[in-house]
């Protein structure tokens, strides 16, 4: 760390992609990196929190129970039930709730002191979660509708015949390529850009405050002030992205279980 600081001292080096590569043990493809440790910590925390809470549920909820209940209520009622429909939403609730809690905790780790690394700003983690969602909604689609039925249901019924060769490939690309790609990229892009923004303000502020002439120090202080403001904005974005990821997963599942387009 001190080497890094010393290197930064003589000229300002803008933060970039390299700041997100933080191997703890080893290097290369099989390194144990900081985000994977953070991910493991988050999973242990969520499991411990929820099992301890579920063991001693009370009729009048305490603070922790209220927190868990409102997260569960959000996923169950305003995501799963409203989108998938009241008939078959219940069997997807565990999956969606798992996605939501894992994403929420991992995203919020971006602003929690000492951890301060949103796991999802490394693209591998959004891709892994997206592959999970992809497998689930494609499997449900194929099992519900069959291969032919699924391919037919890609285009809305009642279209004139001449438009089908145009429409069908587009819809096919949407279902099989665009959806998973955008799902992973949205989460990654937001988390990565947001964290990079905080890095720019913090490192820029540090440089201006400590390594520049006096009038520039005021700009450094302003930059630190902005870091605080942007941190609050990041909390909002982090929550929103966890919500949107779950929402879109539910939306794709709703398309898989519905009979028509």
């Amino acid at each position: 760390m001190s080497v890094l600081l010393a290197a930064r001292a003589d000229s300002f080096e803008a933060p970039g992609v390299h700041d997100f590569w933080q191997p703890l043990i080893g290097d290369g493809a099989y390194a144990l990196t900081r985000p994977s440790v953070v991910m493991a910590i988050s999973v242990v925390l969520i499991i411990a929190f929820l099992t301890v809470l579920a063991r001693r549920l009370t009729v009048v909820p305490g603070k922790a129970q209220f927190l868990a209940e409102s997260a569960y209520g959000l996923v169950r009622n305003s995501v799963a039930r409203d989108i998938i429909g009241s008939k078959e939403f219940l069997k997807f609730v565990p999956f969606l709730f798992t996605l939501f809690t894992v994403l929420l905790v991992n995203n919020l780790f971006g602003v929690i002191p000492f951890i301060q690394f949103p796991t999802t700003s490394r693209i591998a983690f959004p891709i892994a979660l997206t592959i999970l969602v992809y497998i689930v909604y494609q499997t449900v689609s194929f099992r519900r509708k069959g291969v032919v039925g699924y391919m037919k249901s890609l285009v809305p019924p009642g279209l004139p015949g001449w438009i089908l060769p145009l429409m069908w490939p587009l819809e096919f690309i949407t279902y099989f390529i665009t959806r998973p790609v955008t799902l992973a990229l949205r989460l990654f892009g937001n988390m990565f850009a947001g964290h990079l923004l905080l890095l720019v303000f913090t490192l820029g502020g540090e440089y201006l405050l400590l390594h520049s002439t006096t009038p520039n120090k005021a700009a450094g202080a302003l930059s630190f002030l902005f870091t605080i403001v942007m941190s609050f904005f990041e909390v909002l974005v982090e929550f929103l992205q966890a919500y949107i990821f779950t929402l879109l997963a539910a939306l794709y599942l709703a398309g898989a279980v519905s009979d028509e387009h």
């Binding site: 955008t182 990229l185 892009g189």
Partner: protein
Amino acid sequence: MTGNIAILGYGLSAIGPGIGIGLIFAAYINGVARQPEAKSMLQTIAFTGFALAEALALFGLVFMFVFKS
């Protein structure tokens, strides 16, 4: 002045989604103001539209990194 033209491209690609997201939330606010009880339904639709519009800006971000090198 040094830099990469790809970053300019990302800036340009963010204009469209910016306007789009603005329109979506303007419509959402309008809808809730007129009919507050439809809030939960409109919220889902608004965030879905927001996510779709935002995807374009994110493609810009990713392609910026792709074409930077």
